[in-house]
């Protein structure tokens, strides 16, 4: 079973991996965005870690709801509301359970991903974070490792796509041939689940 500590580790592992990969995220964001995805998420997840240390929420739902609210308040751009909504809605779906199973997390994440789809209006294939998150949630019932692989493959599969949402969409066909930075960071978030489970 997954308790509040697991979810805290998930957020800490995500923050560490965003720190490690910030330059790559920003580099991916240069040709088809505005070269700030790494630094924006870094600011947000660092703040999440600080807030979790300070407030020490004691349920999985409370950890994710707080993390989501902090992302909305610190990231800005489209990523702030989208990642913030993902975590906040997932947290709300977990309600006040003190422990949850992996299947329960998968169901809650599906609600979070649906909320992101509604907010941003993106569908699979639009070259967005959705392309990593949807296959990850589908595979999460199997294992954390399967979710990680699915997210990474989903992110890589955005390369040949033409962007239909966000700033990359203004490039039209010229967005083809670049891996989507949002799908790439979403894969980092999913991969951090496995790290949190291994600890």
């Amino acid at each position: 079973m997954l308790d509040a500590d697991f979810f805290r580790r998930w957020m800490t592992a995500t923050a560490a991996s965003v720190d490690r990969e910030a330059e790559r995220l920003t580099a991916l964001d240069s040709p088809i965005g505005d070269a700030d995805h790494g630094s924006n998420l870094q600011r947000g997840f660092r703040d999440v870690v600080t807030a979790l240390e300070k407030d020490a929420p004691d349920t999985p739902g409370a950890v994710l709801t707080l993390a989501g609210r902090r992302l909305i308040s610190t990231v800005g751009g489209a990523s702030g509301p989208l990642y913030g909504t993902l975590l906040r809605r997932t947290g709300k779906a977990l309600a006040d359970a003190s422990e949850v199973g992996r299947e329960q997390l998968a169901e809650a994440l599906r609600e979070g991903v649906d909320a992101v789809r509604t907010l941003g209006g993106a569908a699979p294939g639009d070259k967005t974070m959705i392309d990593a998150l949807v296959p990850a949630v589908d595979a999460l019932g199997e294992s954390f490792a399967a979710a990680r692989t699915a997210a990474e493959e989903g992110a890589e599969a955005t390369t040949p796509l033409q962007a239909r949402k966000g700033r990359a969409s203004y490039l039209g066909e010229r967005s083809i041939g670049h891996q989507d930075p949002g799908a790439t960071s979403a894969a980092l978030l999913v991969a951090a689940l496995e790290e949190a489970a291994d600890e």
């Binding site: 920003t26 240069s30 040709p31 965005g33 505005d34 070269a35 700030d36 630094s39 924006n40 600011r43 909305i72 308040s73 610190t74 990231v75 800005g76 751009g77 489209a78 990523s79 702030g80 509301p81 989208l82 907010l119 941003g120 033409q162 239909r164 949402k165 966000g166 700033r167 969409s169 203004y170 490039l171 039209g172 010229r174």
Partner: protein, 328 residues
């Protein structure tokens, strides 16, 4: 680049702005710029904001006759809802607040969230989306037309209406009308360098230009070998007039992107005016300068807004802001 470290670029600029403009209240920590006499009794308050790097937009347009408050985000990154709610609470006189939002995914999402939160606090909020950029032709499969030069027209004209004491509903519909009657087209002669990256965000070799550029260093739709000022003016004006067939006089904004000298902008304006005359478009007023910029990008944009007598009177009405000032 004239900076200390990339992380403090926005805060540094706000501190400098506070020193230069005692007529504004600049909250550096919370990143909100407010006209000092706000809230003004009986007046609708205009609040705008967006990523930094487009100065004087939006903070430079705070003052009597224009915005009541502005929220600067990180460079090229939308501000967060907390800033907008704080700004709305600081300027609302009870007559309501109008959010002026440029159509970028981040700005739209954050202002939407802020509007909900502000309404929870009992503030009446209306929103107007600015989406004037004709370079985005495929609105179905993109995030839609971007908000660019017309933002200045919307903020100035709606700001004058608010200053006159018109009610929220009227100020909102006026702002919407200005946006509907405005179209823009921009181009870049060089790429943009953000403080965080320190190198150009895309590769635009000398001798080439990018047509249909946005204001965030995002490349445009088409790259061509360098053209003359007259040829570029023709391409820009034609693109605008393909989508706007004005029967009434227009306001013209020839807007520099940040690194193109005024000498060149005025020369470019001469070409724009020549072409408009040739197309039978009457010009009521013209503004030339750097107003909706993209950091150090070279290039310009042309915005036309078809006006009537009411809009022209509001355009001519006094305004007193760091970036735009006349009649006061």
């Amino acid at each position: 680049m004239l900076i200390n470290v990339p992380e403090t670029v926005v805060a540094d600029a706000l501190r400098g702005m506070a020193s230069a403009h005692p007529e504004l209240t600049v909250d550096v920590e919370n990143r909100v710029i407010v006209r000092r006499d706000a809230p003004v009794a009986g007046q609708v308050a205009l609040v705008s904001g967006g990523g930094s790097g487009h100065e004087p937009l939006h903070g430079g347009f705070v003052g009597p006759g224009m915005l009541a408050a502005a929220c600067p985000g990180e460079v090229f990154t939308s501000p967060v809802p907390d800033q907008m709610v704080r700004a709305a609470a600081a300027v609302d006189s009870g007559a309501g607040v109008l959010f002026i939002v440029k159509n970028y995914t981040g700005d739209v999402l954050n202002f939407d969230m802020a509007a909900e939160l502000a309404e929870d606090e009992g503030i009446q909020v209306a929103k107007v989306l600015v989406n004037d950029d004709v370079a985005v032709t495929d609105s179905l499969y993109t995030a839609g037309r971007r908000g660019t030069g017309a933002t200045l027209f919307v903020e100035k004209i709606a700001g004058a209406a608010a200053q006159e004491g018109r009610p929220l509903e009227q100020v909102e519909s006026l702002a919407r009308r200005v946006n509907e009657k405005s179209r823009s087209f921009g181009f870049a002669l060089s790429a943009v360098t953000t403080p965080a990256k320190g190198t150009p965000t895309f590769d635009l070799p000398p001798g080439e230009l990018e047509l249909g550029i946005g204001i965030h260093g995002e490349p445009g739709r088409e790259r061509r070998p360098m053209m003359t000022s007259g040829e570029i003016a023709e391409a820009a004006v034609d693109a605008v007039l393909t989508d706007l067939a004005p029967r009434n006089p227009v306001l013209v904004l020839v807007n520099g992107m940040g690194a193109t000298p005024l000498l060149e902008l005025y020369g470019f304006n001469a070409e724009v005016q020549r072409i408009l005359r040739g197309r039978g478009v009457a010009v009521a007023r013209t503004l030339v300068g750097n107003y909706v910029t993209s950091l150090d990008m070279a290039g310009a944009s042309v915005t036309l807004c078809e006006i009537d007598e009411d809009l022209l009177a509001l355009w001519d009405a006094p305004v007193s802001t760091p970036g735009l000032r006349w009649g006061m």
